[in-house]
């Protein structure tokens, strides 16, 4: 058979004419960079339950304008190298329409620039401030609080609700622990509080008596904690009890980790401990969540296990999938530009985890007013009671 230039041209035209039909039936492909195994897998497992539930719910109701949602998961194991490889695979081979994740800052720091080069729409919940920069990374959007927002919430509760003016700031010796404690101490001092002592403790230090005695002798009225080490936190709480001191602990969400319950000497040691939490996933004095999430929990019942995870992880996973599908629904397109432009126009988008607002200049979408303090020992189905003082 002789291939003529005209024949080739006609064939190409016919192919291009058929493209829109293919695209309209093509599934909406969402890449999901999840640290499903390894040391930091707990959040991703929770997020994943929300992601899978949302995708199934959308597909069961007919999809988005007839298009199914396809979740393409890659287990990054919390390893930045694996996250980079998975990101490159998603961009160049799998050709996903948007990426959700990674879910920890170490991985996110490694892949954000790669996604920016490919103009890949990206949503993530990582807290490191520098991950969001609409000029350098116009494709990246955050749907959880940043470190600064956490810090603001802790400081606001300590100074305005607990009415404490003298604090001891304690972090661990990891990069995160040191930088978070330094930033927190500086912000407290800027707001007129007295930082009576600041310490970075090795998480494996067996005895916390020296650090707690130093804080007490310096007159600390609250201990501000910036660490993910449950062993260190439990030791500090046990030491506080052994000293007969009832100073409140305020700080990092890890203060509410279930692991601490197993490590403290007695349940009372976990009283007067307030961890960063979220209004949408906190129950009030009557034990009720905000109506929207009360209804979500009922819908999840029997389908998604909330006993061993946090509701905000599940809710955030649902929101991530819905943010992508709503963008496709609203714009009728899956192009990078259309999805990013749609997200830039969102104002108080009602997610389950929070009401997100983005502009072209601000990609920190989570409202700071929704970051609250929870009573750390009150965990129930992945939710917590609001700390005292919220009225």
């Amino acid at each position: 058979m002789i291939i003529t230039r005209r024949g080739l041209g006609l064939a190409a035209a016919a192919t291009s004419l058929s493209m829109p039909a293919v695209a309209q039936n093509e599934p909406i492909k969402i890449g999901w960079l999840a640290a499903m195994t390894g040391p930091s897998s707990a959040p991703a497992i929770g997020f994943n339950r929300g992601v899978m539930w949302a995708a199934e719910a959308i597909n069961n109701s007919g999809g988005v304008k007839g298009r199914k949602v396809e979740i393409i998961t890659r287990d990054t194991q919390g390893d930045p190298t694996k996250a980079v490889n998975a990101t490159q695979e998603m961009i160049s081979q799998l050709r996903v329409h948007a990426i959700w994740g990674p879910t920890n800052s170490g991985e996110s720091l490694a892949v954000t620039a790669i996604m920016a080069r490919a103009k890949m729409p990206n949503i993530h919940p990582c807290v490191v401030d520098s991950l969001i920069d609409p000029v350098k990374y116009p494709n990246a959007f955050r749907i959880a609080p940043s470190n600064t927002q956490w810090d603001d919430a802790v400081r606001s509760y300590t100074l305005n609700i607990a009415k404490v003016k003298k604090v001891a700031v304690i972090g661990d010796t990891t990069g995160y622990g040191v930088s978070a404690a330094n930033a927190s101490a500086a912000a407290f001092q800027k707001d007129g509080a007295e930082v009576v002592t600041k310490a970075n403790i090795d998480a494996t230090q067996p005895d916390m008596t020296p650090d707690m005695l130093r804080a007490r002798n310096a007159g600390a009225q609250a201990i501000i904690i910036w660490s993910v080490s449950t062993g260190m936190i439990a030791r500090l709480l046990n030491t506080r009890a052994a000293m007969g001191w009832d100073v409140p602990f305020i700080g990092h969400p890890a203060l509410a980790s279930g692991e601490i319950g197993a490590l403290i000497d007695k349940p009372a040691n976990w009283e007067k401990v307030y961890a960063i939490g979220y209004k949408s996933c906190s129950y009030d004095a009557s034990g009720k969540l905000p109506p929207r999430n009360q209804e979500l929990v009922q819908r999840l019942q029997g389908k998604v296990n909330l006993q061993d995870t946090l509701l905000w992880w599940v809710a955030c996973g649902i929101d991530a999938v819905e943010l992508v599908t709503k963008a496709v629904e609203a714009t009728g397109a899956t192009s990078n530009q259309a999805i990013i432009a749609h997200w830039n126009s969102l104002k108080q988008y009602p997610g389950y985890f929070g009401e997100y607002s983005f502009t072209a200049q601000d990609h920190n979408g989570y409202p700071v007013s929704d970051v609250v303090m929870s009573a750390a020992s009150t965990g129930k189905n992945g939710t917590f009671a609001l700390a005292p003082g919220y009225g």
């Binding site: 390894g38 040391p39 010796t173 310490a199 970075n200 403790i201 090795d202 998480a203 494996t204 230090q205 067996p206 005895d207 008596t209 020296p210 650090d211 005695l213 130093r214 449950t230 062993g231 439990a234 052994a242 692991e259 197993a262 490590l263």
Partner: protein, 285 residues
């Protein structure tokens, strides 16, 4: 404050001393510094928590099972990481091989046990405050170990054979002593001593996979301070290290206490390279 420094300083120091003895026991029959010593201590806590807390075994049975498991691991270390490199001791390949086994143990523990610290049970339920069992148990375990080893080395045939191998490997073999079996036995003994360190200090250190590197580092210091192969030196070095570290924690705080410890360590080694209680190596000319 002084009572607290003494209680926790001696407790942590006793754990370091036991890890130092673990190093020495393995070194004496093989001339190898095995970097699995700290991991054996870590496993003492993990197995203790597993057997007593999770599986509900009585404490004596849990202790026996923990010591047995770690003794077995000691033998495996000897077979896998030490025996193949004994012929080229001067190339120090054992550093790589024992570190590899140590990493293997740590990662396997992280995967199979947990990456978060797990609780360790109360063992005898005696004492409170600075007299809590978590403070005196490691000291008692250390004292029992050093007495037991003294008895073994001085009054038993096997112990004397250990000493003979340690003194002169070639002469001992020429006398017909089963050098390989004795070396395996010493690694099993070291495994049990390391496990005892982790078990007795479990309430202080918790059952945590990351304790291995910590014990490897801090357990090595008593060996260097006390003189290589000198168990009594390791005990004194370990206890002094624990007390100094805890005092530094009080005086200068967490991060800086490590700096203080290692500064003192370097100063001591500069002044006495053979350790505080070690004799300079004599060479017949």
């Amino acid at each position: 404050m002084l009572a607290s420094i003494l209680a926790s300083g001696l407790a942590v120091g006793a754990v370091y001393a036991l890890i130092g003895i673990t190093y020495n026991t393995m070194f004496s029959t093989s001339r190898v510094m095995s970097f699995t010593a700290g991991q054996l201590g870590m496993l003492g806590g993990v197995f203790g928590s597993l057997f007593v807390l999770r599986l509900g075994l009585p404490v004596p049975l849990g202790l026996l099972a923990t010591l047995s498991c770690c003794a077995l691991l000691g033998v495996v270390t000897e077979v896998v990481a030490v025996r193949p490199v004994l012929k080229s001791l001067d190339q120090h390949l054992y550093v790589l091989s024992t570190l590899a086994v140590a990493l293997l143990i740590q990662h396997a523990t992280a995967l199979e046990w947990s990456t978060e610290p797990q609780p360790f049970p109360r063992l005898v339920g005696i004492g409170a405050g600075i007299w809590d069992e978590k403070y005196w148990l490691p000291v008692v375990a250390c004292a029992a170990t050093i007495l037991g080893l003294e008895y073994l080395y001085r009054y038993t045939l096997v112990g004397r054979a250990f000493v003979a191998i340690a003194e002169d490997n070639f002469a001992a073999r020429a006398l017909g002593l089963p050098e390989r079996n004795l070396r395996m036995a010493s690694y099993a003994l070291a495994g049990a001593v390391g496990a005892l360190a982790g078990f007795a200090g479990g309430q202080l250190l918790l059952a945590f996979f990351a304790n291995g590197p910590l014990l490897n580092f801090y357990g090595f210091i008593p060996v260097a301070l006390g003189g290589l192969g000198n168990n009594r030196g390791a005990v004194i070095g370990g206890l002094l290290l624990g007390l100094f570290q805890q005092a530094a924690n009080f005086m200068v705080g967490g991060i800086f206490s490590s700096v203080a410890v290692f500064t003192l360590f370097i100063i001591v080694l500069l002044a006495r390279p053979q350790g505080m209680f070690g004799a300079p190596a004599a060479r017949r000319v």
